[in-house]
Symmetry: C2
Subunit: 160 residues, 2 copies
DNA sequence: GGAGATTGTTATATACGATGACAATTCCGG
DNA sequence: CCGGAATTGTCATCGTATATAACAATCTCC
C-alpha cells in the first residue's frame, strides 16, 4: 500500500485562463481537470464576495455546521468536514478565538466539548450566508437556473 | 485590498461521507460545496488508479501539457497550470530528475528552456493516460454517458 | 544603445493537513 | 462491577505545496 500523496489542490489565486496557442491534450476530456478549473473559479468568486470577513470555505462550512447542529463535538465536526481531529481543533480554536463559538461542557460526556454559536457567531454566519449566496449567484450566472440545478444534481451523484 | 487566504483545498484522503444525524444547513444548496465533494471523490479515484506511478494530478497535467507542446517554456507551463514560475520550476525539476523530461536550450531565446518529453516520459504518459482514463470511467460509472458529457459541458461553462 | 519587461533561479515564509503520542473518560464483555 | 478497549481533546512535529521577493541574464522596443 503506497502512501497517498497530498490531494489535488486548487492552488491558483487567479482564474486558470486558457493559454492561447497551447494544446491541452487529453486534459480537455477529463472530469477531474474540469472539476478543478470550476472549483478555482468558484473559490475566487467566494473570496471576492467575502473579502474582509476573514473567512475561508472550510471556516464557513464549519460555522454553518455548528450553527445547524448545536452542541456538536469537535470530532464529529472533523468527520463532517473530512479532516483529522487535530485539524478540527484548530478550526474550533479559531472560531472560539473570534468569539463566534463557545465550548460548553457536555453533561453526558466529560471528554467532549459541545460547540455552540454565540450571538456574534450567528450574526456573522447570516452575513456570510448572504455574501456566499451572492457569490454563487454571480458565478452561476453563466448557467441558466435549470442548468445550475442539473449541475448540482450531477455533482451529488458523482460524489455519491 | 485584503490578502487572499489560501484557496479552497480538498484535504481529505478519505471520501467525505455524509455523517448520519448531522444537518448540513445551507451547504446542501451550494455549488462550491458540491464541487469540493466531487473533486475529493475524483482525486481518490485518481490516486487509486495511479498508485505506484508516483504521480499526482498536477504532475500528470504537467506531463500531458509538455507532451502536447514540445519546447514549452517553464513560465508558460506555470501559466497553463495556474501556478507561479517558481512552482513550475519545481515541477520541471521533478520531471527532469526522473528523466521524464529534458531541458533543451532554445535557439530563439537564451533565457528560456524548452521542455521536451523523453522516450521514457512519453511511455509513462501513455501508461498514466490509460490509468487515469480507467479511473474516470470507474468513478463516472455513477453517471450515464449522456450525464457525463453534460457534466463536462456545465463545468466548462461555469469555469469560463 | 538603453529602459523596461521577461525568464529562470533561489531563498524564505506561510498555510493546511497528517501522524503519533498522551491523559482523561466512557463503553462493553465477562 | 471490573478491567481492557475505544473515544475525545490536546499537543508536538512533519511534510507538501504554494506564494513572494529578490537577483542576474537576456530579450524587446523605442
Amino acid at each position: 500500500m503506497s502512501k497517498p500523496p497530498s490531494p489535488h489542490r486548487p492552488r491558483a489565486l487567479a482564474p486558470i485562463e486558457r493559454v492561447p496557442g497551447v494544446s491541452y491534450g487529453v486534459l480537455d476530456e477529463l472530469l477531474g481537470y474540469a472539476l478543478r478549473r470550476a472549483q478555482v473559479a468558484m473559490f475566487l468568486s467566494f473570496h471576492r464576495a467575502t473579502r474582509g470577513l476573514g473567512i475561508t470555505p472550510p471556516r464557513f462550512s464549519a460555522l454553518v455546521i455548528v450553527g445547524a447542529n448545536p452542541g456538536l463535538s469537535q470530532s464529529t465536526l472533523g468527520a463532517v468536514l473530512g479532516i483529522a481531529r487535530s485539524g478540527a481543533m484548530l478550526l474550533a480554536d479559531w472560531m472560539v478565538g473570534r468569539r463566534l463559538v463557545e465550548r460548553r461542557r457536555r453533561p453526558d460526556d466529560a471528554r467532549a466539548w459541545g460547540l455552540h454559536l454565540t450571538r456574534r457567531g450567528a450574526e456573522l454566519v447570516e452575513k456570510m450566508r448572504r455574501a456566499v449566496a451572492q457569490a454563487e449567484r454571480r458565478q452561476a450566472a453563466r448557467l441558466t437556473a435549470a442548468e445550475r440545478r442539473e449541475l448540482l444534481r450531477l455533482l451529488e451523484k458523482l460524489a455519491g
